[in-house]
């Protein structure tokens, strides 16, 4: 067995001081193996986003250890962190975080540009990623010309475009209708079947059910951690591709 992609031990995150202190994470320990598909659920304010930001190397914990691919993230330099964020991790924000007044395709191209991909190749791959989320026809639109769901799908495309080994998604389906949700989840299932590691935060039970492993957070701590399907097999969703697509189609044609 290779070393785990993510390994956190006794992770704590404390916001503010004195009266206003918030313990967003109270000692989370978690190991995610390569190829796993983990769903994190929990009520609002339970610390899901906080955990995710730390896993994405966007934030630092107050205490605890975080190994990304076996490397202690707190030891990485700015350049190494940038490299990890660019090549290793695809991050989907709860709040989309698209760059304003910049077209959808330019937003999707951005990680490729920082990876040093040539402009032509970049454009081709960005268009392909937009096509996957069904937004090829909106490529030239700027974020404020897109609906919330469309913006979210642009954010998904941006995270997928570098084909990262680790996909971290903070409620990627929060603003989507069931059709779009299914499309996006299908992409995740395919990625998982292709051996990539996925961690996804969700409020929806159906989304959680499709993951191989379900973690529940309450008040900054893990309360349950259940394996729903074997690590080395494709996720349940991927197995019923044809069936699921037909079902979705049927639901919508009605």
């Amino acid at each position: 067995m290779s070393r785990p992609v993510l390994e956190v031990t006794d992770l704590k995150k404390i916001y503010g001081q004195g009266e206003a202190t918030v313990h967003a994470l109270r000692g989370v320990s978690l190991t995610v193996e390569r190829g796993d598909y983990v769903a994190i659920m929990g009520s609002s304010g339970s610390g899901k986003s906080t955990l995710m930001n730390i896993l994405g190397a966007l934030d630092t914990p107050s205490s605890g250890r975080y190994l990304l691919d076996g490397v202690d993230v707190s030891r990485l330099s700015d350049g190494q962190l940038a490299l990890a964020r660019n090549r290793l991790i695809g991050f989907i924000f709860q709040a989309f975080n698209l760059i304003p007044r910049t077209s959808a395709v330019a937003n999707v191209e951005l990680p490729l540009a920082y990876a040093g991909v040539k402009p032509k190749e970049r454009r081709r791959r960005a268009m392909a990623a937009l096509d996957v989320v069904g937004l090829a026809d909106r490529a030239g639109h700027e974020p404020n010309q897109l609906s919330g769901g469309q913006q979210q799908r642009v954010a998904v495309a941006r995270a997928l475009v570098t084909e990262p080994a680790l996909l971290l998604a903070d409620e990627p389906t929060g603003n989507l209708d069931s059709k779009s949700t299914d499309d996006v989840l299908q992409v995740f299932d395919d990625l998982s079947a292709a051996g990539r590691t996925i961690v996804i935060i969700t409020h929806e039970k159906e989304v959680g059910d499709r993951a191989k492993r379900l973690i529940r957070l309450v008040d900054g701590g893990i309360v349950t951690d259940a394996r729903q399907s074997p690590l080395h097999l494709p996720p349940v969703g991927a197995a019923r591709v044809a069936h699921g697509r037909a079902m979705v189609a049927g639901r919508h044609t009605r």
Partner: protein
Amino acid sequence: MNFFEVIRFSLRGLSANKLRSALTMLGILIGVAAVILLVAVGNGSAKAISDRIEALGTNTITVMSTGRGGSSSTSLTKDMADALVDEQMAPDVKSVSPVVSSSSATMTYEGTDHSVATFVGTTPAWFTASTTPVERGSAFTDDDVAQGRRVVVIGKTVAEELFPGVDPIGKQVTVGGALFTIVGVLADKSSTGFDDANDRAVAPLTAVQQVLTGYGALTSIIVEAADPDRVDAVQGQVATILNQKLDVDPSSTSTPYRIQNASSLLETQSQTAATFTTLLGAVAAISLLVGGIGITNIMLVTVTERTREIGIRKALGAPRRVILTQFLIEASLLSVLGGALGVAAALIGSQFSIVGVKPVIVPSSIGYAVGVSIAIGLFFGGLPAARAARLRPIDALRYE
């Protein structure tokens, strides 16, 4: 990611925020143009004044009578002028030109009248002493003066008024009921004051005295020094001779005459002008500062948005160096472009005369203005970006 790509990113960033880019550039443009133009106006007026003084001749002194009412005991006479030509007492004097002038002479040619602003009667030395050379034809001679011949050299304006399209030389005009023959035309003289330096006529002293002014007092005596460095010496020598002639008590502080020294006038004048330019420069510096504050404001107002954008870029894997380069290029493009436009605006503006002054650009002011505005643009454009690039991505994203 190569440098060329970063430049493309910067250009895209600038075009994505057109209003902000335009306002920033406008701020720099105004600051730069104001500094250059104000300094140019100050310099221009200083130059105008010194030109006017230099036109008087820097190696001459002018003796004028202060006595009012033409009392014979205090007025300047031809006799005194002759006394100034004295190898012993005034060795540094090169020439002496007694001058009478009339401002009410009317010149008539074939029915056309022209009222000449200054009709000067003098000796041939006047032409060099007053730096008013003859352009066409010739000046009159000492012999003309001795004989009181009625010949006249006219200025450009007079020639244009009376002889449009005709060569005036050899023509005869009537002045004060007497016929004068035109022998020459004066070279163009820059007139920077209210009166036209080209609107004049010069004739032999004796002729003018006979026809126009009478044989009374001289208007002034122009004394030319042998060397510009000897002007002060000449002034002393002239004063000594005149005091003797006019019986002035050496201990008395007031003399019946006044000596105007062009070079000392020029000196005081250029000092005043320098002060003036410095003052305008200070005003300009303030306007540059205000322009700078404008730039700063615009840059700081957008700092929230920029910080968030930097957060996103970092989250997507942009190294700090690339972010910094991008934002610094953005800032420098804005300030360089704004500065260049400001210089262009100033150069165009300097073609027009401002409040009656023709601005003369001071090259160093361009350097200063552009330098300062670029520094301001870079500092306030680069500083927030540098700060944001150092933040953790999540903190940059949350920045408010």
